[in-house]
Amino acid sequence: MLKILKYSFYDLMRSRWSYVYFAFYLLLGVVLLFLNNDLSKAVITLMNVIIVLVPLIGTIFGVMYYYNSREFTELLLAQPLKRSSIFLGQYLGVALSLSMSLILGLGIPFVFYGLFQSSAIWDFSLLLITGTFLTLIFTALAFNIALSNENKIKGFGYAILLWLLLAVIYDGLFLMSLIMFEDYPLDKVSLVGTMLNPIDLSRTLILLKLDISALLGYTGAVFKEFFGTNFGLIISFIMLTAWVILPVFRIVFKSKRKDF
């Protein structure tokens, strides 16, 4: 598995897309810092970008890579290799190279700007950690979609639909249900609703670290008590990890049974 991981990783490292992705984040970081002149404000803007773009790029890239390397995968399948290691290796190769582009691309300008002397370092690390989690989650979901659909067009369609669902539609439905049931106590419901969607969960985690917790005071202490404590943080990360592990299990499961 490690060999395939290494191969996929180097293959991607050589590809143009990784550089484009890396350059995009580098540019974003530099522009934000020099326009904003304020580290913590830049972190907020960055959050908006990360919770929207990272999942989108993760999904599209994952699907694209799977379909592109199909011939190579078939070649590998002919060798005496375990199926799970082939697909897991490919998945990790994509996910890790995307994460690396993200971390380096955003990290370099911030480090040069004086991140280590700044108090925003924890906010920024949290940002990168959730960004990495989102990459892992959405690449895994993308591989799932690609494994289940032979038809490329359909695969891409589902991938975009998935992103749309979790990034936009979910929040819309969530909002509608909260408004519809506004006569009932909703603190717990909204907490659960947030936990179930990795994008919402990441957003809330970052928001709470960015001192906007002032806001949450208004709704009753529930959110703050939950997310503000170590317990809440641990639960949130467990949820995010579950979001990584479950799709990965499905990759293994599906790839074992798949007829090529």
Binding site: I169, D171, G172, L175, I179, I212, A214, T219, F223
Partner: protein, 411 residues
């Protein structure tokens, strides 16, 4: 020359004859403040030397000057009120007063001024107190440079730092108040000046006043108070250059304005409060040159607020600039700087060419269903906010700043 000499001599004689100095110390003939006051004549000076004096119910019934040297400790042993001033022209200076009695029926104070004029309370340090400085039906006095550190935990069994009741023309300056119920409390007190005070970490309000007209609040700092600052039922007050910050909580406000009319709020800084200003039933108020920085809500308008004008303020990085709960708007927003403004300025006159709408649809939704706050900054919310901005349906369509500034306003 002769006349001058005579004049000086008269003054010198007058001083030696009338204004005697009585010293109080633990080993002197006069060893308590009470004895000293009993022996003193009008306009004498009592000097209290360093030491600890266990006294309570000290009544100052003559115009005296009481000065502490090196902060002598007056210990009330929790038995009740410590010093009560009932005469005009009294000065109390430099005492360290501790252990005021606690009561559920009487408002015991470290020092109370009742029915007097021209008093001066200064350089006191008060600790372990119930009420601190209580000015009652008095006028033309000054409360200057005191330090009041309480240990209040609950609202119902704690008192206020500086309390004014039916008083007039009192100056409260350079005081430092922490950990009491209300830092500064005014009721029925007109024409007072509250200046350069710091009131923080109080259980309830940093500043609280009701039915107090024509007062001036200037250069004060109110931070970290349980519920911020609340001002109610008052007319013609002026708030200049104060700092309201970090008042966080479910019902916490930088400033809560209720039934305040014809006020002027200028040059203040509201920073990191859950709600910067909460306005209810307040009319004809001018907000000018204030900074609203990183608040949850910069301004929350609850209702029955008419003809207020918000001019040349800076709204910087607030989660919501304005929240409004009705569709009727009679307030004016003009020439403010909004950090969330996304318009352009083609003619380069420093004023944006597109009006700014400070009320977002999401703030309207959050008003209705507070739990939806969890969706703050989500992509879906940005989309509906944008569509509301393009064609307002739920928010008042005439609520906008027609001349939004392009750059932060400096004054």
């Amino acid at each position: 020359m002769n006349k001058l000499f005579v004049f000086l001599a008269v003054i010198f004689l007058a001083q030696t004859n009338y204004a005697q100095n009585i010293e109080v110390c633990n080993t002197c003939t006069v060893s308590t403040l009470k004895d000293a006051i009993a022996q003193a004549k009008d306009f004498d000076t009592i000097t209290v030397k360093k030491g600890t004096y266990k006294e309570h119910n000290v009544i100052v019934d003559k115009p005296l000057t009481i000065i502490g040297e090196d902060y002598p400790v007056i210990d009330g042993e929790f038995k009740g009120e410590i010093i009560t001033v009932i005469s005009d022209n009294v000065t109390v200076d430099g005492l360290f007063i501790i252990n005021v009695g606690n009561s559920y029926t009487t408002d015991y104070a470290a020092i109370r001024v009742r029915n007097s004029k021209d008093f001066l309370i200064q350089n006191l340090v008060l600790e372990k107190l119930f009420f601190g400085i209580y000015i009652e039906k008095s006028r033309d006095g000054k409360v200057f440079h005191n330090k009041i550190i309480g240990d209040a935990v609950e609202e119902y069994n704690s008192g206020n730092g500086i309390q004014l009741w039916y008083s007039k023309n009192v100056e409260i300056e350079h005081n430092f108040i922490q950990h009491v119920r209300d830092g500064i409390y005014l009721e029925f007190s007109d024409f007072c000046t509250i200046k350069n005070n710091v009131s923080s970490l109080n259980v309830r309000y940093g500043l609280h006043f009701m039915f107090s007209n024509d007062d001036i609040y200037q250069d004060n700092e109110f931070s970290d108070n349980g519920a911020g600052v609340a001002v109610m039922f008052s007319k013609r007050i002026k708030m200049y250059d104060n700092i309201f910050k970090e008042n966080w909580g479910t019902a916490s406000y930088g400033v809560l304005l209720k039934e305040i009319n014809d006020a002027e709020i200028t040059g203040n800084i509201f920073e990191e409060n859950t709600i910067g200003i909460n306005i209810e039933g307040s009319n004809r108020i001018i907000y000018k040159n204030n900074d609203f920085i990183s608040n949850g809500w910069a301004i929350k308008v609850r209702g029955a607020c008419y003809t207020n004008s918000f001019l040349e303020n800076n709204f910087l990085y607030n989660s919501f600039d304005i929240a409004y709960n009705s569709k009727v708007n009679d307030n004016v927003f003009d020439r403010n700087y909004w950090s969330n403004y996304t318009g352009y300025d083609l003619d380069k006159n420093g004023i944006g060419d597109v009006p700014y709408r400070p009320v977002k649809l999401f703030s309207y939704i959050v008003n209705r269903t507070p739990e939806t706050i969890i969706l703050l900054r989500s992509l879906f919310i940005d989309i509906i906010d944008f569509s509301e901005k393009v064609s307002p349906v739920f928010t008042p369509d005439n609520l906008m700043d027609n001349n939004p500034k392009m750059k932060k306003i400096a004054w």
